[in-house]
Amino acid sequence: MERIPILRIGDLLLVSIQVDMHDRLAMTLQDDLTERIVSDRAKGVLIDISSLDLVDSFIGRMISNTAAMARVLDAQTVLVGMQPAVAITLVELGLTLPGVKTALNVEKGMVMLGKR
């Protein structure tokens, strides 16, 4: 079964989404990520979506939910690398992801989490 890899960098976890999301994959990712946050005692999560050209309301909601779950486990989530076209689409859809922090790229996201 396909899975999205979760990489550990120091006390951060990096998730790079590069394939089309569907229900099963999203559920698996949320399972894996919450497990890893607990087992690795991670302080922060970076979700990189720089290779996604298309983000629909489903993925938007999935990201919001994942961030909320991480927050419950005391890990801050930063969404990084959103394409301009994706940002415009999400705003037009009314999905402004209010609870989620954002950064331009992985590097800036790590700086942002490091300051905490």
């Binding site: 959103m82 705003v91 954002t102 331009l104 790229n105």
Partner: protein, 287 residues
């Protein structure tokens, strides 16, 4: 006498008296004299000659009642070309229409001379030529209007591109001075250029200056909030600056919620905040 016969007689008269009509027409146009200039006079004579040489054939085959037919294609094309040239040169619509209408006087003179023996035919021919020239004149104005509209549309597009510059004020600090009213189309352009510049420069903060926006209503505010939300999704914060006292009042009266957005009165204030955010400071060198 049928209208076909009238058209034939009319065409014949124009052909026979072409030179005489041409001279009278140009003389008349010159007496109205919009502009005196050798190049313009040359062009005018060329246009008159071309139009007058096309008229007899078109009149005979196409009739005078309707200029939509195929027989009038050449004449219509010529008039369209003349109108377009005049629109580009900045003539007024009445100047352009007068070009055609002024043909009446000289044409009527030629008709009176040629058909003085047959009053009935003369009356018919006069009526036919009047309706014909009216239609041609109106057509000219229509084309003129169309080409002016095209010029306006092109200028609008150019203005749209010109009026949304994104400037880099400092390392990691962008400014977006907005001038003019924000509508949906412009918001789209503004949003796109801002987001692209954010990617390009890796900026962390953008200042949207609305000093040049004349009014802020709920729609404009919504557009601003959209732009800010999109920039935030990309990981850049926005500050709105240049809010005039009157606009502050309007925003509150309209109940627009700008509480989640950082707002500053002037661009200078916003710049200071932005510098602090990226960890820079401007100090005065002691004199």
């Amino acid at each position: 006498m049928s209208s076909n016969d009238t058209a034939r007689r009319l065409g014949a008269v124009i052909q026979e008296h072409e030179q005489q009509i041409l001279e009278a027409w140009i003389g008349h146009l010159n007496s109205l004299s919009f502009r005196k200039d050798a190049a313009v006079a040359d062009q005018l004579r060329r246009h008159c000659t071309q139009l007058l040489s096309l008229l007899p054939d078109a009149t005979v085959t196409g009739g005078t009642d309707n200029i939509e037919g195929r027989a009038w294609d050449e004449v219509r094309n010529l008039l369209a070309e003349i109108s377009n040239q005049r629109a580009k040169q900045g003539s007024t619509p009445s100047e352009t229409a007068t070009f055609v209408f002024s043909l009446k006087q000289s044409l009527f003179a030629a008709l009176r001379e040629a058909l003085s023996a047959e009053p009935a035919v003369l009356a018919d021919a006069l009526w036919g030529s009047t309706t014909l020239l009216d239609q041609l004149g109106l057509y000219t104005v229509e084309v003129f209007q169309k080409s002016r509209d095209q010029i306006i549309v092109r200028q609008q597009q150019e203005l749209l591109e010109l009026s949304t510059p994104v400037v880099k004020l400092w390392q990691d600090v962008l400014a977006l001075p907005l001038i003019g009213t924000l509508d949906s189309a412009r918001t789209q352009v503004v949003m796109e250029s801002l987001l692209e510049k954010i990617v390009e420069t890796g900026a962390a903060i953008a200042i949207i200056d609305i000093t040049g926006v004349p009014t802020v209503d709920t729609l404009v505010a919504q557009h601003l909030l959209k732009t800010i939300a999109a920039a935030r999704l990309m990981g850049a914060d926005c500050i709105i600056s240049g809010i005039r006292p009157q606009i502050a009042q309007t925003i509150v009266h309209l109940g627009v919620n700008l509480e989640d957005v950082m707002t500053k009165a002037t661009l200078a204030d916003a710049f200071e905040v932005a510098l602090a955010r990226v960890g820079a400071r401007v100090t005065r060198i002691a004199a």
